[in-house]
Assembly symmetry: C2
């Protein structure tokens, strides 16, 4: 057959602070022929997640940066177009990590089969995928909420935060969400059953937060950093736990902000309140917890205790703008790009 091409979004240049559309470039490349054990994939959904901002920098982290000129990384739901493996047939759906592109060649060993009759395909990128697992592992393994304790989560209307609050409730804790705007806060309270939801854009945000946690805060699930964290810190109880999952408010910071230097006071609080502050990446817990997660999350999803919401952008060419907007909280629900139709 004739050569297959892939339209893809590559990292054109590294951002200095805020990413701009100029940091991305769309190009079309010819894909190589399949070797044994490989499949040709057509991307259906591309996941956009805050961690991708870190991969755009050339900095030491848990994962290597994306090289300039390389395709942007990302989890994908794809349909198999052609297979050189006995293990998978054309037409099947798979979860992979093929990035911001319309087609890809992948080793079958790097893929996981998906079954559209069991759950909507896109949930593999959200509530049943990495974001859901991040919430589950970080909350249960590091946050360890006890019945009656108060759990506060930032970016609470996002895919991680909304799962954190709901799983906290399932475990008998009080869930307080922090989100941007009245619409997201109403959703948290009315649709997801959070005990309280506070708009971090409100002028009296810190006072509202204090009023919402009369018994203090036992677990603060950190997704954002910045002023939200500053309002949370004085409310932390002795032995409070802070799973540090993300810091989206500071990903675009270029140099240390002006003073005063808040680090000494923070360390003093860690000491005098016996706090646990623990950074994590969900991959650390996959071996230990993924089977439990799959059983629990699919059960909760089926019985309605775990709800989710998606923000679907149509067309790969919209990915850069959607990604830039997400870093400012413009999405409402798990942000995915529909790169192609579910059925070809």
């Amino acid at each position: 057959m004739s050569a297959v091409t892939s339209t893809r979004v590559v990292l054109a240049s590294r951002p200095h602070g805020e990413p701009t559309p100029d940091n991305f470039r769309t190009e079309t490349v010819e894909l190589p022929a399949l070797s044994d054990g490989q499949v040709l994939l057509r991307t259906v959904y591309l996941s956009l997640d805050p961690y991708m901002r870190g991969r755009m920098n050339d900095a030491k982290s848990y994962a290597p940066p994306v090289a300039v000129g390389d395709v942007m990384v990302g989890a994908t739901v794809s349909q198999v177009v052609e297979s050189q493996s006995l293990r998978i047939e054309p037409g099947a759906y798979v979860l992979g990590y093929t990035g911001w592109q319309s087609h890809a060649v992948a080793d079958v060993n790097s893929l996981r089969a998906l079954y559209p009759d069991r759950a909507p395909l896109s949930t593999a990128l959200g509530v049943l995928g990495m974001p859901g697992f991040t919430a589950y592992a970080g909350l249960l393994k590091i946050g360890r909420p006890q019945a009656g304790e108060t759990v506060v989560v930032a970016a609470a209307a996002g895919p991680v935060g909304s799962a954190v609050g709901q799983i906290a409730k399932i475990h008998g804790a009080r869930a307080v969400g922090i989100a941007g705007g009245a619409e997201k806060c109403g959703y948290l309270r009315d649709e997801l059953g959070f005990d309280a939801a506070i708009d971090h854009r409100a002028e009296d945000f810190a006072d509202q937060l204090k009023a919402a946690v009369p018994d203090g805060i036992d677990v603060y699930f950190e997704n954002v950093g910045g002023p939200v964290t500053a309002a949370v810190l004085p409310l932390l109880n002795f032995y409070a736990r802070i799973p540090v999952c993300g810091l989206v408010s500071q990903y675009n910071i270029v140099s240390a902000p002006e003073g005063p230097d808040r680090l000494p006071a923070f360390m003093g609080l860690v000491l005098t309140r016996s706090l646990t502050v623990r950074g994590f990446i969900q991959t650390e817990f996959i071996q230990e917890m993924s089977a439990d997660f799959e059983r629990d999350a699919s059960g909760w999803l089926a019985d309605g205790r775990l709800k989710h919401r998606e923000d679907v952008v149509v067309g790969l060419e919209k990915a850069p703008d959607a990604f830039i907007g997400m870093l400012h909280g413009k999405n409402f629900g798990k942000l995915v790009v529909r790169v192609g139709p579910e059925q070809d």
Copy 2:
């Protein structure tokens, strides 16, 4: 018998920043008569420890502050002068918490018997007491050093730090101490068997530290904060653990230092290296670990694997100056005040 008096050092005023001798006042009071279950104690040794600086402030912490006019708190080794309890006889030695004074009336239930034939009496305030237990619990429970890992400890010539390094060695880890001055560093290397010891006063301190940890740092036992911590942070490995035991360099800080604000970068490091930062007070672990500690520490002390050093100041009237000096690292070894002779 005629009334017994006690000479005692009280908190005269709260310090603003550095404590000064004016913050203390010596006075003599008449002690009340003994009730049932009480004993009259004559203080032999008073322990001076950095945590006492925190008690001089009127701030929310794990323990209430000392009230202005009250006797300064502190652990003591005392001899029983008179007893209204069948459980203890005059002449016996006890560990108590009677503070900076020559005599005290105490409930027998608040005391623990000491046996001078088993270990020198003053070790109950140091290597076999709270500082030793702090090192043991914080290192083993939070730091969890594995064989071959690198443990760095600040204030390493002090009673907690010296035990941390030695217990790390006993568990097969590499121990690197940070201390002030060549004499203390030599002691750590030559007497205590640390793998390296770095003088934080050296101009090229950060470079020396980096050279001493070719495999990075897996556990940083935090006693000091400030510039020492700043040099440690870039050297931390993925999954490093930081038991936060003390922050002696910042106890006298009155307001947040000038910027830049280092908190965002610190949280970023916690996230990208999956760090664990955990404040603690040794009391948290007493129920769980004190029996193990007593068995292990007395065994190691007896077989020479756990060495210790004391800095003994003679006379209660010297306590304020000795305490102020300790906050600047002027002591060399566990600082104790000999308030009275061991044998009356």
